[in-house]
């Protein structure tokens, strides 16, 4: 089965259902902001969101009431501070309670790897003498059948749908990404369904050799979405908008300001191009 080319709206409508386990991955690079916004526009809710580093786009999704549960390992605004919507959900259950499945980076990496390999659990020397296992029954122990040593175990993560943003796809739907890739590959291969937004669709990719490629037959849908990682960045295309990240702090601190901003820029824009246009207007 090969990748289909869809508009982002159609791709989200088809691949993201209420109640789904959804991973928008990208380790502070190639963050699928456009896709997150489209999920908000389509008013998806009751989602189990998965992401090592929930950042602004998850803050927005949580604040807009899309999520019932969050699997994560570090939830902050990188280099800036808190995610106020995430905090509001955890500390004051607004807009509703958020269940946490909290890990370390190493633990989530092992869980994604297990998911990609279709093993039921991942093993690591981790979580040693920390309070995390006491608060998360998804952190257990397994015994080495050779040495008897006890190690940490985490259940595999197999999202219903993983969404990535990547630099380009060819006409067959082979997807190429480069730069900081985080656990993008593992999250992609662990998913039941894979949707990728890309900066560019090209006639053919240059041979990848040992680069990183998601072959077209593991990709379900490709949506052409230039600027789709903004305000994060796409190596080779555009840089991170650090000012946006800094400004977000003040916007997200206050529920009303947040809702007004989301209304103006996300809900009132038809798509990502519209979203970017609304920011341009405001700046002018």
């Amino acid at each position: 089965m090969s990748a289909r080319f869809l508009s982002l709206a159609d791709a989200v409508a088809e691949h993201v259902q209420d109640g789904d386990c959804v991973a928008l991955e990208g380790f502070t690079h190639l963050i699928p902001f456009a896709a997150g916004h489209e999920i908000i526009r389509q008013r998806r809710h009751d989602l189990h969101l998965v992401r090592m580093t929930p950042d602004l786009v998850y803050d927005q999704m949580i604040g807009m009431g899309c999520a019932r549960k969050l699997t994560f390992s570090w939830g902050g605004n990188p280099g800036v501070g808190s995610l106020h919507r995430l905090r509001d959900a955890v500390e004051r259950r607004w807009p509703h309670p958020l269940q946490l499945d909290e890990h370390s980076h190493a633990g989530m990496a092992a869980a994604f790897c297990a998911g990609a390999a279709r093993l039921p659990f991942g093993v690591l020397r981790g979580y040693l003498d920390t309070d995390l296992p006491a608060h998360n029954s998804n952190i257990r122990r397994v015994q080495c059948p050779f040495t008897g040593e006890s190690l940490a175990a985490v259940p595999a993560i197999n999202p219903d749908v993983t969404i990535l943003h990547a630099q380009c796809a060819d006409r067959q739907g082979n997807v190429a990404l480069h730069g900081i890739v985080g656990a993008a590959r593992e999250a992609a291969l662990a998913a039941k369904s894979l949707l990728v937004t890309v900066e560019e669709i090209v006639e053919s990719l240059s041979p990848a050799m040992n680069g990183m490629l998601l072959p077209h037959w593991v990709v379900d849908a490709v949506a052409h979405c230039p600027g789709g990682a903004y305000p994060s960045y796409a190596q080779g295309y555009y840089e991170r908008d650090n000012a946006f990240y800094r400004d977000w702090d003040a916007i997200a601190r206050d529920r009303e300001v947040f809702l007004a901003w989301m209304g103006e820029h996300v809900l009132n824009s038809a798509d990502h191009r519209g979203f970017l246009g609304s920011l341009l207007e405001r700046a002018a």
Binding site: F27, T28, H29, M52, T53, S73, W74, G75, G76, P78, G79, S82, L83, L86, V90, E91, E102, H103, S104, H105, A106, A109, A110, F112, L124, R125, G126, Y127, L128, D129, T130, D131, L132, H135, E149, G179, I180, V181, G182, A183, M212, P226, G227, Y230, P231, Y233, Q235, Y237, Y238, E239, R240, D241, N242, A243, F244, Y245, L276, G277, L279, L280
Partner: protein, 261 residues
């Protein structure tokens, strides 16, 4: 040159502790500044590893985020994140892990998860990130932490990363391969673990800082190491290099990013 700030002094004191060729697992913020300052001064061949998977990075400007493009572009090599944690950190290939935290206790255990109870937190913090396994596997860890009324505490609200647990060899009796926190760099000076009890003791002060300031900053009865040293003020070269790095960083981060439209 203007007098140095405590932040600058902390950064410079931390940088001095790093040696040329050492492999550092670096976090964003003060640790990243310290490691790059070391690289730009006495340790040109220090190997900087960021958890985003960039190995042997030589950034021109400091990253605002762990995943900044600058880190990838100047890296010898960028690997997927699972590899960084399994094939490098867990494999015992990291000499120094740099940690920060919201709270530290007298045995160097750290909290970066919650203030208050886990289920009904007063303040929800960002969480563990790479810290628990850095604390377990790095051959040694450096902790950088400014003194605030709630940072050096008698009792942690949550143990995110293990230091010396209850002290007196408790850590050595676990399976943790790394040695634990060998120094805490704060804005009054440094603490090191007592050789036997592993309780953190005052080991050095920035010149001009008195023991009383340190005692006031720390939430347990702070004892003094056998020898309490004085940390030399920044040299002009250290301060100039650090300030130039920060100036480059500010300029780069202030550059407006055109919308990708």
């Amino acid at each position: 040159m203007s007098a140095c700030t405590r932040d600058e002094w902390m950064t410079i004191a931390a940088a001095r502790l790093l040696w040329d060729g050492c492999v550092c697992f670096v976090g964003i913020g003060l640790p990243s500044a310290a490691c790059n300052l070391a690289r730009l001064t006495h340790a040109p061949d220090i190997v900087l590893v960021y958890e985003s998977g960039t190995i042997g990075t030589r950034p021109e400007v400091l990253p605002l985020s762990i995943g900044d493009g600058e880190l990838a572009q100047t890296a010898a090599y960028v690997v997927p994140l699972p590899e960084i944690f399994s094939y490098y950190l867990q494999a015992g290939r990291v000499d120094v892990g740099f940690l920060g935290a919201a709270q530290i206790d007298r045995f160097g255990n750290l909290n970066s998860t919650v203030i208050g109870s886990y289920d009904a937190p007063e303040t929800r913090l960002p969480g563990a990130g790479g810290a628990p396994e850095i604390a377990t596997h790095a051959r040694q860890t450096f902790v950088m932490l400014k003194a605030t009324p709630r940072s050096f505490v008698e009792r942690l609200d949550f143990r995110t990363s293990a230091g010396y647990l209850g002290g007196s060899g408790a850590r050595a009796r676990t399976t943790a391969p790394g040695g634990g926190p060998c120094v805490v760099i704060s804005d009054f000076g440094t603490l090191v673990p007592h050789p036997r009890t592993q309780e953190l003791q005052l080991s050095a002060l920035f010149s001009g800082v008195g023991v009383e300031e340190a005692r006031a900053a720390v939430g347990w009865p702070l004892t003094l190491a056998e020898h309490v040293g004085l940390i030399d003020p920044p040299t002009p070269n250290e301060l100039e290099t650090l300030r130039a790095l920060h100036a480059r960083t500010r300029a780069a981060h202030a550059r407006p990013m055109p919308l990708p439209l």
